[in-house]
Symmetry: C2
Subunit: 431 residues, 2 copies
């Protein structure tokens, strides 16, 4: 058998120790698949004394992870520190500059600096693997980079944040409001103490940015992902969506129009109940790829956590051991073009709109008139609650309409006297 | 850019012309992903005059596909002739013996001769790609060979035949019987004039055999896949399953028990309505992989047809152009061990049983007594129709029970005087 692949692991949290565990538990199996053994040459983390549930005593401990970048005993650096800047970025850059292969789970780094890293890897005759950066339990990076290589990809849709999908599922099943379910998820460890990165859609946006880059051969620009989170989704919206035959999902959407322009967003959307993607519940992630030859492909799996993320890191290490050296984003960096960004207002589709109104005669007529004046055709209307004392809900779904028209209509309707609060507007995606 | 990959395509039916079309339509895109151009050096088929919707006049025509195996102008042979023996087998063997890479969509060939071909490829320093052999629109071969390389795979479940899934979906949606729906599917071109390979589960068994081989690192033995088709599934069974909250799917199942023994089968099974796999309808295929680190992963996509199959063939060609040279089944042939086959009777689970009985007092009591005597615990019972003149249905689902016990109970019950016809027994799979 060939000589072992020697790796250094930087970061020994849940994922790092998971990788150690997988390599140890499946050493022979992984060696058979990799064509050689994968050996841990060194491990590095901030705090050597921290209690970890994996015995690390047999590995060389390195206090400063940065040292792994030029460690002569290491072929590949596994970066599991996290963060778009600071030590993670420095380690990855220096490791690539020293010709080492890098395996990372760092979505923020890729979304912010992916193009630079792709150029850097190429310049140094090496590459960077990042299967664990998005939907760990779904080998979607490999699928987009290799499996769908014969396709022009038209769109990628993803449920990319397990915390959000768990919260939305819980809200539907229990009828409780966002804040209560979030609190509960935090108590159970399904949501972070500081949940902003998850619930504001930032984590999903990082992942979508990576998938869109791979799908369309463009340069990643995280600033061009329109991002909205789930904190404004109410129990009422979930109940209305259910009544209309939909589920609410935080969807990442990357679409390529016929003219080659691209649009990327992360926002809560309605998807039909009876579809496979509508059936993706709880902490599960899902990615739907629309290829022009393959057709629609949906993959569902665990997005985060120790096992799935370790599984993705090890798959990358096996590719590395096998000598796979594809360009970072599947095509040479020189061929990655800046995207031509589509006008988001030009996007068209079906929409769900929830108005809170004072229950007075004629409100619906006023709303409908504004819709008509903006060329938005209404598909269905629900009026819930009859109560002259308190605000009530008017919920409507539209036929195919332009986003700009919907936005204009909502702005006008927002000025009607009977309207209280901001209307809730969500896309309906039917695939 | 590197020198082109020169390919010869043998077989110019739906898939072969689809591959030509993809390579032509996406030539630049595919070259960017492959790192070099993929050029068609020759095409071969039985009948040059056959009308095809792709212009082949610019390619060298070879009358005898066998000649491609030693064609000096060809790096890779694409075998799209089909069949486990005859010209397809001869071409693939000779091409490998001549050190050429082979790309094939031939599931029967792989299921029957996979181990020999793996050895042959290795002996000649080349390899064989077969992404198109199972669930073309889902890159599942790559996922099992590479994406889940860090996992011990516990099980693979698949809806692997689009014709069967289409028929079962139509039966449910229209309430019609198998024969009527099959006839209709044949008229529409969704089922072959000779449908046996599809409806008897043979096609699905070939595919499952390949997936099980990859998942468990065993030698393929198509004879060890217990295979039953869908022709015995009645409209009544489908209605009962729906009433109980299930869908009927022709499921391929490959499972690895804790003792390392393996069991493989293809048979109609009940799966819960609310699950993602239960939502896979019509011609779609789905594969569920249970990895010990990744967890459960379900992929849904188109299984057959021109576009999806061409997509899979081109992905293999891109891998080939990139110089990927993994062993055929992901591990060296010498490491592929003969499977230890589990006793199918030892398998346990929940079951659905449908008896047709004469409507006499005490029938249910008699059936229940036999069940009890065989240690099978009943979970639910439906008795449908009250009609002393005609046979009526008794449908039951069991709690967790051994297959051998169920089989014994059914055999005894079959001998009861009130029972007419053979009971219909199906597994319930809940994942």
């Amino acid at each position: 058998m060939n000589k072992p692949l020697r790796i250094g692991i930087a970061g020994l949290g849940t994922v790092g120790t998971g990788v150690v565990q997988a390599l140890r538990q499946h050493g022979d199996l992984i060696a058979a698949r990799a064509g050689r053994r994968i050996e841990i040459a060194a491990v590095a983390a901030r705090d050597k004394k921290k209690k970890r549930d994996v015995d690390l005593s047999s590995y060389r401990w390195v206090d400063d992870a940065a040292a792994l970048a030029k460690d002569k005993d290491i072929d590949a650096v596994v970066e599991l520190i996290g963060g778009a800047e600071g030590p993670a970025r420095a380690l990855v850059e220096n490791a690539l500059d020293n010709g080492k292969t890098v395996v990372t789970a760092n979505k923020a780094l890729l979304a912010h600096h992916g193009y630079d890293l792709a150029q850097r890897a190429e310049r140094n005759g090496t590459t960077l693997f990042y299967e664990a950066s998005a939907a760990g339990g779904i080998p979607i990076i490999k699928a987009l980079r290799e499996g769908f290589a014969g396709n022009e990809i038209r769109a990628v849709y993803g449920i990319l944040n397990g915390t959000c999908n768990y919260i939305l599922t819980e809200m539907r099943e229990t009828g409780r409001d966002f804040a209560a379910v979030l609190k509960d998820a935090q108590d159970k460890g399904y949501a972070e103490a500081d949940p902003a990165t998850d619930i504001d859609g930032i984590d999903a946006a990082h992942k979508l940015c990576i998938l869109g880059t791979l799908a369309f051969g463009i340069r990643p620009e995280i600033g061009r992902v329109r991002t909205a989170g789930i904190s404004a989704v109410t129990a009422a919206d979930i109940a209305h969506a259910t009544e209309l035959g939909y589920r609410i999902k935080l969807l990442g959407i990357a679409q390529r129009h016929d003219d080659g322009s691209v649009v990327q967003s992360v926002e809560p959307c309605l998807v039909p109940v009876g579809t496979t993607i509508g059936a993706v519940e709880g902490v599960f992630n899902a990615v739907l790829v629309e290829g022009d030859f393959a057709g629609n492909n949906l993959s569902v799996g665990r997005g985060a956590g120790r096992g799935p993320t370790a599984s993705a890191v090890v798959a990358d290490l096996v590719d590395c051991a096998q000598g796979l050296k594809r360009p970072v984003f599947g095509i040479a960096a020189a061929q990655m073009k800046p995207a031509k960004w589509a006008d988001p207002g030009a996007a068209a589709g079906h929409f769900y709109i929830h108005f809170i109104v004072k229950d007075r005669p004629g409100v619906l007529a006023d709303i409908a008139a504004v819709m008509r004046d903006n060329d938005v055709s209404i598909e269905s209307v629900l009026q819930r609650g009859r109560n002259p004392e308190n605000p009530v809900s008017i919920v409507m779904t539209t036929h195919h309409a332009k986003r700009a028209a919907i936005d204009a209509a909502c702005a006008q309707i927002g000025k009607l006297k009977a309207i209280t609060g901001k209307p809730c507007l969500m896309r309906i995606e039917t695939f």
